[in-house]
């Protein structure tokens, strides 16, 4: 119910006194109203700006945030006010809605921001008042269109990300729709374009009269008749290619019915059909007239270029969207033509030897005059005819000029939208790259943190502090969360490189660096396997002073590798040694540690994987490899198999 209703309710109830004497049954008792119905002033503090309003005002709309008890969540008892950490400028509009019952839309604010505020305060967008409703809707629609284009562009631009299980059909369709996905598609694209051009040129050239070798006094023949076989072969070749293309598209289309009905496929059909009809129609004179007509349709092949040209498509789309304006233009022109033709006909009727033999004959004059062509093949000779002829040409200018700006503005809008789409696609790539970088940044932070022994919870506090890069509270908690996940699933996070390499390389080279032996002896080079029974694993890092591992290899049998990980460029030069639990951090932050890599034979990894999987970019970066600490101390309740790990270091 509207705001005013709440105000008038007491009045309506009071007026019910009029029913009392008439009531045949006793009336129910009135509901209990809480005593403090006194009107109080509430203070709403929105980001420092204080708004004060009567409580009644807010109570008018009980199904919004401010009108219901939901606002109690925001009540600050000390200051006695309701605090919202939102935009105060927008709040003004929201509050005015309570006061006046109409929600106005601010002109200078972003419509998305406004929507978000409405959603927060529990107001439905339908409450926007009539005065602002249209503008609100328009702006929202524009925004939505833009976002939809964004999504489309995203999907379209997803070239490389083809689902692995796509069938031939899907791949083919993709290749057709997006020629830039693969070289084959590109080649196909250009070949078809070339053949379209060849076909069109052949059609044109075969009508040019060409001279024979011997001078003929008779008329020149068109080239098509001089070299019929050549042209026929060319035509056949083109049609074969087009037919092949059409059939392939038909096969690859996800929805064949829709494909059959689409404009491009119709154009394709119309382009190749005349040829086949011509094949089957016998060449006798009866039907040769029809046959000739069919050849005209061959010119439709030029429309096939619209698959190759964005601009053509835009033009076509513009015309389609301006259909109503074009229709109006046509209609008004027709009206004017008929009127003026009639008038001219009757004006020129009296003259002898006049061109204006009938009204339809006068149509030609009217059209030529209204479009200011003025061929001059038909001219009025009477005075009346001349007067009406001049009126005709003046009005023609007006009638044609009216719808044209609409069409032009439509075209301009669509064209600019298209430009925007292209620009946005480019921006999108950058944006996605940035997002991926941010994502990998967090993961890398976690991985790096692990390497640096940060997860070692047995270590002494200070020692740890030295080694580990200080993290914000958020990061700490986030890392703890990831760590919990690792523990839960008995898998570890790793990066793409190590993961892919692990998949590829199962064999072991003769390079080792570490082992997971319980005794803290370094494994000799060449030792491959470590234990295969679950046991507590000590963590150690053996530092090879001269290791300059540049690339870390190996990975855990990790299925939850974070995809799209970028290698962090930051050098991970720290590692914490622990030969023993307690000297966790013999820090030598400058030393370049090798990267311990683990290649695991596919068994479920232990929940305490030895090595982490830091990555480092090639060329000098070293990633210290350390994995989690404190396995010795922690009691591993969950029996997980140790990975049969072999550490390989790249030296």
């Amino acid at each position: 119910m509207a705001a005013g209703v709440a105000t008038w309710l007491p009045f309506a109830r009071a007026a019910a006194v009029g029913w009392l004497p008439l009531a045949q049954q006793p009336l129910p008792p009135a509901p209990e109203v809480k005593a403090s119905r006194g009107d109080e002033v509430l203070v709403v503090n929105v980001s420092g700006r204080r708004f004060e309003t009567w409580k009644n005002t807010l109570d008018r709309y009980p199904d919004t945030l401010l009108g219901s008890s939901e606002k109690e969540f925001f009540y600050d008892a000390e200051s006695g006010e309701y605090f919202f950490d939102r935009d105060p400028d927008m709040f003004r509009h929201v509050l005015n809605f309570y006061r006046t019952g109409r929600l106005h839309c601010p002109r200078q604010e972003c419509i998305q921001a406004f929507d978000e505020e409405l959603a927060f305060y529990g107001l439905v967008p339908e409450l926007v008042g009539d005065c602002c409703l249209e503008e609100y809707r328009d702006r929202k629609k524009e925004n939505a269109e833009r976002l939809a284009e964004d999504e489309e562009a995203e999907q379209a631009g997803e070239g490389p990300a083809l689902p692995a299980g796509s069938s031939l059909r899907q791949r083919l369709w993709r290749a057709f729709e997006n020629p830039h996905t693969s070289t084959a598609a590109l080649v196909f694209y250009y070949v078809t374009g070339f053949f379209i051009a060849v076909s069109v040129i052949a059609n044109v050239v075969e009508t040019i009269p060409c001279r024979g070798p011997a001078r003929r006094p008779t008329r020149d023949q068109p080239c098509g008749d001089r070299f019929p076989t050549a042209f026929f072969c060319m035509d056949t070749a083109c049609v074969l290619i087009f037919t092949g293309e059409y059939l392939l598209r038909l096969f690859a289309a996800p929805s064949r019915c829709r494909f059959l009905r689409s404009v491009m496929s119709l154009i394709d059909v119309v382009a190749i059909l005349p040829y086949y009809i011509g094949l089957f129609v016998p060449k006798n004179d009866d039907v040769s007239g029809a046959f000739v007509t069919l050849r005209v349709f061959r010119v439709f092949r030029i429309f096939k270029f619209s698959r190759h040209s964005q601009g053509l498509r835009i033009l076509g789309y513009t015309l389609k969207s301006c259909a109503s304006e074009l229709g109006f233009l046509l209609f008004s022109l027709t009206m004017a033509i008929i009127i003026f033709a009639t008038v001219m006909f009757y004006a020129e009727k009296g003259t002898s030897k006049t061109n204006f033999t009938s009204i339809p004959a006068a149509f030609w004059y009217t059209i030529v005059t209204m479009t200011t062509l003025g061929y001059g093949d038909m001219v009025p000779s009477t005075i009346a005819g001349k007067i009406f002829g001049s009126i005709c040409s003046l009005s023609g200018v007006l009638v044609i000029a009216l719808p044209v700006p609409v069409i032009v503005s439509n075209f301009s809008r669509i064209y600019h939208q298209n430009q925007r789409a292209d620009k946005r696609r480019a921006q999108q790539k950058v944006r996605l790259a940035r997002i991926r970088l941010a994502k990998s940044g967090t993961t890398n932070a976690f991985l790096q943190y692990k390497q640096n022994g940060g997860l070692e919870d047995s270590g002494s506090g200070e020692g740890q502090a030295l080694c580990v890069r200080s993290r914000s509270a958020f990061e700490q908690q986030h890392h703890h969360l990831l760590h919990c996940l690792e523990k839960t699933t008995c898998h570890e996070f790793t990066d793409e490189l190590t993961f892919s390499e692990a998949l590829g390389a199962v064999s072991l080279d003769g390079r080792t660096s570490r082992s997971t032996s319980v005794s803290s002896q370094p494994m000799g080079p060449g030792s491959l396997l470590s234990s295969c029974c679950p046991r507590r694993v000590k963590r150690r890092a053996i530092r090879l002073a001269n290791s300059t591992a540049s690339v870390s290899r190996g990975s855990m049998q990790e299925l939850d590798t974070l995809a799209g990980l970028r290698r962090s460029p930051a050098p991970q030069s720290r590692s914490s040694l622990n030969a023993k639990p307690h000297d966790s951090l013999d820090l030598n932050c400058d030393s370049r540690d090798f990267v311990a890599a683990i290649i695991s034979i596919p068994t479920p990894p232990a929940n305490t994987p030895d090595e982490s999987q830091p990555s480092s970019p090639g060329g000098g970066g070293v990633s210290g490899g350390r994995s989690n600490p404190t396995l010795r101390n922690s009691s591993l309740d969950t029996p997980c198999f140790l990975p049969e790990t072999v550490k390989i270091s790249s030296l």
């Binding site: 119910m1 509207a2 705001a3 005013g4 209703v5 105000t7 008038w8 309710l9 007491p10 009045f11 309506a12 109830r13 009071a14 007026a15 019910a16 006194v17 009029g18 029913w19 009392l20 004497p21 008439l22 009531a23 045949q24 006793p26 009336l27 008792p29 009135a30 109203v33 006194g38 009107d39 009567w54 009644n56 006061r99």
Partner: protein, 220 residues
């Protein structure tokens, strides 16, 4: 008891030179109407005239002014407001009767003073006052007595507010029967009309009515 302090400021918009067409006609009409503004008497006078406290008057006026910035309610508005409370039925007739009851000086509009005066009687008046007010409501032509026709009109308007979907289903004769029973109870001398004295007397004898008169005391 309308005080002379009633201020009325009329600022009529100038009539445009009558060259309007269909499209702009109505807009200009609205311009003229909405510029009439009415201000009530001072708070003190209203406090004297009615039985509301200062705070109550403030609350009432704020609500009233919010809904009707021009300071008066005309019949259309009144009907519209009242109909929001009874969405199933048609409350326009009863709203008209109510409007006439509130509009004590019969000038076609209810100002804040009328409004508050009426409410004061209903909510803060004595039982007799309220009965008087109710009688005034029923007495459509204000001639001092209620005839059967008047009562029938009132009854029909009340039943109209119920709408179509009732249980048990509304019969045609229900208002009439109700009127009959009402006259049975109220009309002492069986002369076919109910005067104010008969009305008050009969109501005072009825327990239910007496009890329910207190029902709406704490509405404001």
């Amino acid at each position: 008891m309308r005080g002379q302090g009633r201020k009325e400021s009329l600022s009529e918009s100038r009539d445009l030179d009558g060259s309007y067409d269909q499209l702009t006609d109505s807009v200009e009409d609205e311009f003229e109407l909405s510029t009439v503004c009415h201000r009530p008497e001072g708070l003190e006078q209203l406090q004297e005239q009615t039985k509301f406290t200062r705070k109550e008057l403030q609350v009432l006026y704020r609500g009233f002014k919010n809904e009707c910035p021009s300071g008066i309610v005309n019949e259309e508005n009144f009907k519209q407001i009242y109909s929001q409370f009874f969405p199933q039925g048609d409350s326009s007739t009863y709203a008209t009767f109510l409007f006439n009851a509130f509009d004590t000086n019969h000038d076609g509009s209810v100002s804040f003073e009328d409004f508050v005066a009426g409410l004061s009687v209903i909510l803060r008046g004595t039982i007799d006052d309220r009965l008087n007010w109710a009688f005034n409501l029923y007495d459509l032509n204000k001639d001092g007595c209620i005839t059967k026709e008047e009562m029938l009109d009132i009854m029909k308007s009340i039943y109209d507010m119920m709408g179509k979907y009732t249980y048990p289903a509304l019969r045609e004769e229900a208002p009439r029967e109700h009127v009959e029973s009402f006259f049975q109870k109220m009309d002492r001398n069986k002369d076919g009309v109910v005067t104010i004295e008969e009305f008050i007397e009969s109501c005072q004898k009825d327990e239910n009515i007496m009890k329910s008169m207190q029902l709406f005391d704490n509405v404001i």
